[in-house]
Amino acid sequence: MTADALRPANLEEPRQLGEAEKRDLVAALRAILPGDALLIDDEALRPYECDGLAAYRRKPLLVALPETVEQVQEILRTCAARDVPVVARGAGTGLSGGAFPLSNGVLLVMARFNKILEIDADNRVAQVQPGVRNLAITEAAVPLGLYYAPDPSSQIACSIGGNVAENAGGVHCLKYGLTVHNIQQVKMVTMDGELVTIGAQSLDAPGFDLLALVTGSEGMLGVIVEVTVKLLPKPERAQALLAAFSTVEQAGDAVAAIIASGVIPAGLEMMDNPAIRAAEDFVKAGYPVEAEAILLCEIDGTDAEVSEDIMRVRELLLAQGATEVRTAKDEAERLRFWAGRKAAFPAVGRISPDYYCMDGTIPRKNLGAVLRHINELSDEFGLKVANVFHAGDGNLHPLILYDSATPGELDKAEDLGGRILELCVEYGGTVTGEHGVGIEKLNQMCSQFDAAELTQFHAVKAAFDPAGLLNPGKAVPTLHRCAEFGAMHVHHGQLPHPELPRF
């Protein structure tokens, strides 16, 4: 991505702090944090300009790196008293700009909360700080025969606090669920500096299911300072199949057939021809490059279970018209099957100067129709699209290829991405399956939700953060924005529920 392609874009700029206000804020934060935990110099702030959505950059007012819960509480109290907004951030691997900083706000970097506090094998849970990397939890649990199931592609780098904030997914979601299904408790600091425990060490907690509400709330309701995750027994065996198809529709039908047969694979991924070719050129996984689509199917469980299911799925795939079905003969081959899928994004990065990764979910039965529509849109916009996706749960990741050095191409890629997400909504799906809304999909939220629903979201946000200081401007668009986007018709300036404050 070239620097001239970067723009703060059409995002609303928040109220700027005066010099005196800024001096007062810095002095107050210095009293809370040690010298190296407060960054205010231009150069020190630059690495924090963006998260994984690198097309958008904005320098935060300042960066705070707390290492205790008390410091987080004090920082939030200090900011609340001064009406200063706060954006919390983990490893910064999010792809939707959920941790995009504010030029008048504090960026609260949780990287120093990096300890695994306890692994309780008998209760199959781990208590961890939010800055712990997703994969580090599994690495620590494996010697006890346990693991943490959600595995976003970024698991080597992304932090569990960010996973909770985004309700992150991954390859194993169909069988093992999203983050929300795999955590039991969070400790969270609200904007007024209070520490609350949500969920419990037991399987359920009294009262509303606030744990579900907080998971995926994109840092808008509180700052997570501790997470209790569930651990699962490591399956005895995992076995993978690779099937090639001459049409994507056939591959889609095969997905439905597997599920109808009663088998729930641990992973069920599809790649289309452009993605297969890119991956094969890159990692030489031995993929059939002539195939229009391949399916990767992994079955896990006990030895007997896997043997039984693998045979069944193999026969099904052949019956569904697969031109070739390979069963990984050993662990090395299983890993090779996956290597291409896992490297699909960087592989596409090699064949195009830039790519833009989208994230929508559709009912599986519409796979063929949606892919056909995406192809038509690709022709209309003159930009190639490679498709890699979690076929088992209908979560698409179209990769839009473009060149940011060509004037106007980024805009075109974003417009095409937006159209694809709207297509997902038209087919009964959603604008985000696992990456979150952030700043990226604010406009498309206007397609999925109507004014009353968005107003309800804002009211729930206000229940936690009445002044709207936590991560403002993310996840839920203002009605004003939707009106401008054109998805909402406002007659004579009359909005629904004029009595409610607009955020």
């Binding site: 309780d120 008998d122 209760n123 199959r124 849970v125 985004e166 309700n167 997914g169 979601c173 169909l174 669920g177 929300v180 609200t190 609350v196 425990t197 419990a200 037991s202 399987l203 359920d204 009294p206 509303f208 299911d209 606030l210 579900a212 509400l213 995926g216 709330s217 027994p233 490591k234 439905a256 057939a257 599920i259 109808a260 088998v263 469980g301 006990t302 030895d303 007997a304 279970e305 043997s307 039984e308 559709i362 039965k365 979690h390 749960d393 799906g429 959603t430 399956g433 696992e434 809304v437 939220m445 999925q448 939700f449 309800q456 009211a459 729930v460 206000a462 229940a463 996840a475 839920v476």
Partner: protein
């Protein structure tokens, strides 16, 4: 009773009630009237007639139905296609509805192995206190757009609104199930459950009735043979009947006279000795008959990181759910206010505060 769509009528009733400040008691089949506190409203909002399965395609693993759809109808539709509700909800009566199942948030024997009600909930159409029918979540497996107000509604006892329509994730019913029994006392059973929960076997339920430990395994024929070999124990011939009696509390244990408490604790919690107890969910759910003061039971549960609910045998006027810390209660009041601003729905059903 024929399927019918009462969305407009229900919205209108709620708008009128909100305007006049008349609170409503939401009622479907009425099979869970015993659960929770008594609703402080006298006007009943009958949602039992708002019924019908709206969509169900086995290959999508999703069923969408109106709230008043009888649970038995949902079960029958799923069984016909070899599928089931993964959380095995108790019905507690023939009139149980899908809306009531989700609002009560109660799960059966499979809960520790397949997740609870909220884990299977994909989306709801929620009628809020302003009389608006709002869609949250949807019919797809992965959806992280907006706040998760659908799962928030699971177990909220109708205090956040009427769950007009519900989309739930369903799963294939395993081809076979077998149960084996071990004569073990409570301590030994808890130890065994702890070990089994860490094994990769295809176990889908465990229970201890005071004398014996019951372990259910489900799956394909070969997987079950392997599990049976690894487990040992004596085969229980009427596996399905037994687990149904646990789920519906028709098992002999539940015939006690004293107040029945449900304790939700970390599974490895040792035996609590609070009274006659029935253990499920690998140790994570303990049913206890006791007339000890609520505080004693609450303290025992919270000492181990859990909580306790007075499940049956109360007059509906006492607090039945474990009290919340003040800040958490404040958040509850705020959330309730955000969705049901004038307090129309089920006042007092969950806590006396709202």
């Amino acid at each position: 009773m024929a399927d019918q769509d009462l969305t407009q009528e229900l919205c209108e009733r709620v708008r009128v009630a909100a305007k006049s400040g008349t609170p409503l008691c939401i009622r479907g089949g009425g099979t869970k009237d015993f659960y929770g506190r008594q609703c402080a409203a006298t006007d009943v909002l009958d949602v039992g007639s708002h019924r019908g399965i709206l969509s169900y395609e086995p290959t999508e693993l999703v069923l969408t139905a109106r709230c008043g759809t009888p649970l038995r109808e949902v079960r029958a539709a799923l069984a016909e296609k070899g599928q089931q509700l993964p959380f095995e909800p108790p019905a507690f009566g023939d009139e149980a509805t899908l809306g009531g199942v989700v609002a009560a948030g109660l799960a059966g024997p499979r809960r520790a192995f397949a997740g609870g009600v909220r884990d299977s909930l994909l989306g709801v159409r929620l009628l809020n206190g302003r009389g608006e029918a709002l869609q949250f979540g949807g019919q797809v497996m992965k959806n992280v757009a907006g706040y998760d107000l659908s799962r928030l509604s699971a177990g909220a006892m109708g205090t956040l609104g009427v769950l007009l329509e519900l989309s739930v994730k369903v799963l294939p019913k395993p081809a076979f199930e077998r149960t084996v029994v071990f004569a073990l006392d409570e301590e030994a059973a808890l130890e065994r459950m702890k070990a089994l929960a860490r094994s990769p076997l295809v176990i889908t339920a465990t229970a201890h009735d005071g004398e014996s430990l019951y372990v259910r395994a489900c799956g394909g024929e070969r997987a079950l043979e392997a599990a049976e070999q690894a487990l040992g124990g004596d085969p229980l011939p009427e596996s399905e009947t037994f687990w149904q009696s646990v789920r519906e509390q028709t098992h002999g244990f539940f015939a006690g006279e004293l107040p029945l408490w449900r304790l939700s604790v970390p599974p490895a919690t040792p035996a609590l000795h609070l009274g006659p107890s029935f253990i499920e969910w690998s140790g994570a759910q303990r049913w206890v008959f006791s007339d000890a003061p609520a505080e004693t039971i609450h303290t025992a549960a919270s000492a181990h990181g859990g909580h306790a609910t007075l499940f049956r045998g109360h007059d509906g006027a006492v607090e039945v759910f474990q009290p919340l810390p003040e800040k958490l209660m404040q958040i509850h009041r705020n959330v309730k206010q955000a969705i049901d601003p004038v307090g129309s729905f089920n006042p007092g059903r969950m806590y006396s505060e709202f």
